[in-house]
């Protein structure tokens, strides 16, 4: 028995395990990624809304304070505005940024030093009039921003600017026009550097990614464990099946009573083993029976020859002996032929060349041979046809079937007996052919075994028969999808009833392998 190439992997990743694991991890990763991205997007949106609200409040405050200046001083000149703030500084001892800060102090929820906002006042040409704040923006308002603000009254946007000491800063700006008497008079701008906000978001991103990685690792490990636990019985089955050879087909897989999929798999394997074992046993039995069956004629042949060789014989005696030996060899040849036929019928699996065969004319043509066969025992053979029918069949095999049945009947019928062959074709589905003899009948104990290979009934005479005839009958009936029954009325008659279908049905795989 050669080993089949079986992958040697045992504890490692079987391909199913790997597939399940990869799929599981991919689903987890996708879920976590969507979830984290949503969380991140939500927080980012919230932070920017807060930033915008803060900028809005501060710009509104600055706007209001410039308006106050306009209504109280009625002055319009830029120098006047600077003077206003300067005067303010002088009066209170604080500079412009302190004024601006005081206007928005109540709005600030975050510590001022973290936000480092800057405030600017421009004239309508974008020229810087006054400024305050922690960093130095370029002197004048860019013309594009100026145009937007003069058109819409206000603008909120993020951009990068290079401040006066050459560093690039990402900022968010709220730029507003200061309106008085339905026209724009000045432009105020509040800038917030976005660096702290961005740093906050980077931290959030890092935390989220770390969490995704940790969760993925933990759940993957758990998933791997689950897959392993689930597939453990499969591993057991594989190991067990690997150990099963033709010489230990009695082994069975262990079954639990839970009826799950894996249990069903094991059960199916056990059923298959059962069938294999039976078929192996049957093969073994056939080979054993065959060797015994062939040894019998060989023994007789040898016995005859050895007895004859004990002394010189006349040519006539040798001729008789050789004729007898040829007859015995013919016996051996018939056994081998029949076995070959059985093997062919077994392996054909029902795939034979089938043609429409007229049963009535086939049986009529057999009667000649049957009568010759029956002559030696003075047995009469009669054929009755009730109707006419064709069946899909292999002509040669069908002839063999009925010849074997008639041959069998001749053997078991005493001299002067009667054999009848009856064809009934009244059923539209099937044709029934009976071979009836008035021999002694068959005891009930033997009925179930007569189709077994090499089985011989009690009354069989050795030498005439070797128990393959009825096995061949059974095999031929099977390949024609028919049925055969034996009814026996001991002491009166024996009936072999063959039923053949008029149409072949398509065989299912399950039937072929059952």
């Amino acid at each position: 028995m050669t080993d089949l190439p079986i992958p040697k992997k045992r504890g490692g990743f079987g391909s199913v395990r790997l597939k399940v694991f990869v799929l599981y991890a991919a689903i987890l990763l996708a879920t976590f990624a969507v979830f984290s991205a949503s969380v991140y997007a939500y927080f980012r949106h919230e932070i920017y809304q807060k930033v915008d609200a803060l900028l809005d409040a501060r710009a509104d405050g600055l706007n209001a304070s410039v308006k106050v200046y306009l209504t109280t001083r009625k002055a319009d000149a830029p120098s006047g505005l600077v003077a206003f703030f300067s005067g303010y500084k002088n009066k209170e001892g604080r500079d412009f940024s302190a004024v601006a800060d005081s206007l928005t102090a109540t709005e600030l929820s975050t510590p001022k030093q973290n936000l480092r906002m800057a405030s600017y006042v421009f004239d309508l040409n974008g020229k810087l009039l006054a400024e305050s704040g922690a960093f130095q923006a370029p002197a004048d308002l860019p013309p594009a921003v100026l145009a937007d603000v003069l058109k819409d009254g206000r603008q909120v946007r993020s951009f990068r600017l290079v401040n006066r000491d050459g560093r690039q800063v990402h900022v968010r700006a709220n730029t507003q026009a200061v309106m008085s008497e339905n026209r724009a008079r000045y432009i105020v701008q509040v800038l917030l550097p976005l660096k702290p906000v961005e740093e906050e978001l980077v931290r959030l991103r890092r935390v989220l990614i770390l969490m995704v990685v940790i969760t993925l690792l933990v759940t993957s490990w758990a998933g791997l464990y689950l897959v392993r636990v689930t597939l453990r019985p499969v591993d057991r089955i594989v190991r067990k099946i690997r150990d099963i050879r033709s010489d230990n087909l009695k082994e069975r897989l262990y079954l639990k009573d839970n009826g799950d999929e894996i249990n069903r798999l094991a059960r199916t394997f056990n059923d298959m083993l059962e069938r294999l074992e039976k078929s192996f046993e049957a093969q073994k039995q056939t080979v054993q029976d065959l060797s015994h069956e062939l040894k019998t004629p060989l023994t007789i042949l040898r016995g005859q020859l050895e007895v004859a060789l004990r002394r010189p014989r006349s040519p006539e005696e040798y001729a008789t002996l050789l004729q007898a030996s040829v007859a015995e060899i013919e016996n051996i040849r018939r056994i081998i032929d029949d076995l070959l036929m059985l093997a062919r019928l077994d392996s054909s699996g029902g795939v034979l060349e089938m043609k429409k065969v007229d049963v009535k004319s086939l049986l009529e043509s057999l009667m000649e041979d049957a009568k010759i066969l029956a002559e030696s025992k003075n047995i009469s053979v009669a054929f009755e046809a009730k109707g006419d029918a064709t069946v899909p069949a292999n002509q040669i095999h069908l002839k063999r079937l009925f010849m074997n049945l008639i041959d069998n009947a001749v053997k078991y019928t005493p001299e002067e007996g009667k054999i009848r062959v009856v064809l009934e074709a009244d059923d539209p589905q099937q044709v029934r052919i009976s071979v009836i003899d008035n021999g002694g009948g068959i005891g009930a104990a033997h009925l179930s075994q007569i189709f077994d290979r090499f089985y011989r009934g009690e009354k069989a005479h050795r030498g005439d028969s070797y128990g393959l005839g009825l096995s061949i009958v059974k095999s031929i009936v099977d390949t024609h999808q028919g049925k055969i029954e034996v009814r026996s009325n001991p002491g009166i008659e024996t009936v072999f009833l063959v039923t053949l279908p008029r149409k072949r049905s398509v065989q299912l795989f399950s039937q072929i392998f059952a």
């Binding site: 023994t299 007895v307 008789t320 002996l321 007898a324 069989a460 050795r462």
Partner: protein, 143 residues
């Protein structure tokens, strides 16, 4: 055909090598085998009674108590070999039993444990004669 062989055997000059006529019961369901062995053993000076099945054989065993040896085919329809063997020993414990069959010898020994000898029919009539004569000179093992 068998008649010819019989006549050939009878015309041969075989002298009984035993002063006393030993009696052998030959049990075999094949008529050709029975006929060949009977001729052979009778020409060797044995008295041979033959039986084609166990029913006839058991009747003979019950009636004839002066048998010396049984040549017993253990493969006969209807009975299993070991049961028949045990029955022979039960009917007549003094009887020598040579198991005769077409099974190989090892298989015969596995099936029947305590026979006086075992004979594979395909090994030829010379072997049969040797075995029968040797067992006749031995004391009965089953007694």
């Amino acid at each position: 055909m068998l008649k010819i062989v019989e006549s050939m055997c009878r015309s041969g000059i075989f002298k009984p090598d035993e002063a006393i006529m030993h009696k052998i019961l030959l049990v075999d369901d094949d008529p050709r085998i029975r006929s060949i062995y009977k001729m052979l053993l009778e020409l060797e000076g044995f008295e041979v009674v033959d039986a084609e099945d166990w029913d006839i054989a058991s009747e003979i065993l019950l009636k004839k108590k002066d048998l010396d040896l049984v040549l017993l085919d253990i493969k006969m329809p209807g009975y299993s070999g070991d049961v028949v063997f045990d029955a022979v020993r039960l009917y007549n414990p003094k009887l020598r039993v040579v198991v005769s069959s077409i099974y190989p010898l090892e298989e015969q020994k596995r099936l029947i444990l305590k026979a006086d000898d075992y004979f594979d029919k395909s090994s030829g009539v010379k072997t049969l004669l040797q075995k029968v004569k040797r067992v006749m000179h031995q004391p009965v093992s089953g007694a």
